[in-house]
């Protein structure tokens, strides 16, 4: 336990957090998993931008401060092929596009536990906290469908490789 605290302390001392301000042109990346987030035509489903119950937080990363290889590494950590959750690629939006859909993005770096530290982590917020088992108002679902329309989806051509092998994420 003491060792954990010590490691956390050391890592937090080393952490260089980013500015909490976003420029409109900043690129935001969301990890996409298959088959849960894509349909049979490999198009994004709206659940890629939907929060778990009791929160309004869709985990994303600030692409301008990292790169596709790091993002892929993070995504591979949380994939679970036995649960049919295979890393599949990225959906990219810039901040202005998120705002145009009347949603927002906020900086929310992960600083603990030490093995999960991610200073690029942020959250897209659609402005509505969902209850467990309660559907979104149709207006919110429409808002999310607009986020989908604006997203640029990059399917990873080699999801099993360590490095990103696709085109530039823009």
């Amino acid at each position: 336990m003491l060792k954990d605290f010590l490691n956390l302390f050391k890592s937090s001392k080393k952490l260089q957090l980013l500015s909490s301000e976003f420029s409109d042109t900043e690129k935001i990346a969301r990890s996409v998993f298959s088959p849960v987030n894509v349909n049979k035509s490999d198009e994004l489903r709206t659940n890629v931008y939907k929060s778990p119950a009791e929160m309004d937080e869709v985990s994303v990363n600030r692409l301008d401060y990292t790169n596709a290889d790091n993002l892929k590494n993070l995504s591979k950590k949380i994939e679970n092929p036995s649960s049919k959750r295979n890393y599949f690629g990225f959906a990219i939006l810039n901040v202005l596009e998120i705002k145009e859909c009347e949603a927002n993005v906020v900086y929310s770096p992960i600083i603990e536990p030490v093995e999960n530290v991610n200073v690029c982590h942020s959250d897209i917020k659609v402005g509505y906290v969902k209850e467990r088992g309660k559907e979104f108002p149709a207006e919110i679902n429409y808002k999310i469908s607009q986020l989908i329309k604006k997203s640029r989806f990059y399917k990873d051509p080699a999801p099993h490789d360590i490095k990103w092998g696709g085109s530039d994420l823009e």
Partner: protein, 219 residues
């Protein structure tokens, strides 16, 4: 009605077909007086069709077996083919509709139930499996909307908070997006040239499903 179908494969020579026809006539007591060579083949085809369509035997019964003679066999067979064309086409259409809706409902229900067995955090971000009530409501909505209408669904998938989404879309990018929860459902209708229509807190009942069904049919 039992809608189980089985495809029967039979490959053989022309003589095999005649023998099969004789065999079927013997076993089923179908009387085809003075049956010609042509009529033998038609008989075996007809009886074969009746064998694979247990629930559509009425269709087969409606087709009249014609007594032909050798001299007039070609003429009568041509007439026969003409008469059989309409009911046979209808019969094929019926099978197509039944198979489509039955298979779609079966596969949709199967998938919905599979969403219930998803693991916790199935999307990697603290999601929960599909709730029992949401699954039940989605299945009920299929019945209320109608299988044939529902058959045109483009996609359906679970959401991280235990609800389920159902989507219909056409080639014009017009869309109906439904989300079904534990107690109600919401949806929007996005048709070209019209304002997007929003419907919230819809009870799972006939009147609400009927309106949704009408939108889907327009799509």
């Amino acid at each position: 009605m039992d809608n189980n179908f089985e495809l029967l494969s039979f490959e053989g020579s022309l003589n095999d077909v005649f023998e099969l026809s004789n065999f079927i006539e013997e076993k089923t007591n179908v009387e085809v007086a003075d049956s010609s060579v042509n009529n033998k083949m038609l008989t075996s085809l007809l009886i074969g069709a009746a064998l694979v369509t247990v629930s559509h035997d009425a269709e087969a019964k409606g087709i009249e077996l014609v007594n032909t003679t050798t001299e007039k066999s070609l003429t009568i067979t041509a007439e026969y083919n003409k008469n059989i064309e309409i009911p046979f086409a209808k019969y094929i259409d019926d099978i197509g509709v039944i198979s489509c809706s039955a298979l779609s409902k079966r596969s949709v229900v199967k998938d919905i139930l599979s969403f219930k067995s998803l693991n916790e955090s199935w999307d990697g971000f603290d999601s929960i499996p599909l709730e029992v009530e949401s699954a039940s409501n989605a299945i009920e909505l299929i019945d209320l909307v109608g299988e044939k209408t529902f058959c045109s669904i483009d996609d359906y998938y679970p959401n991280p908070n235990g609800t389920i989404s159902l989507e219909w879309e056409n080639e014009l990018d017009e869309k109906i997006s439904v989300e079904v929860g534990n107690n109600s459902f919401s949806y929007y209708v996005d048709f070209t040239g019209a304002d997007v229509k929003f419907f919230n807190n819809q009870n799972i009942d006939f009147s609400n499903a009927k309106r949704l069904s009408e939108f889907i049919q327009v799509l």
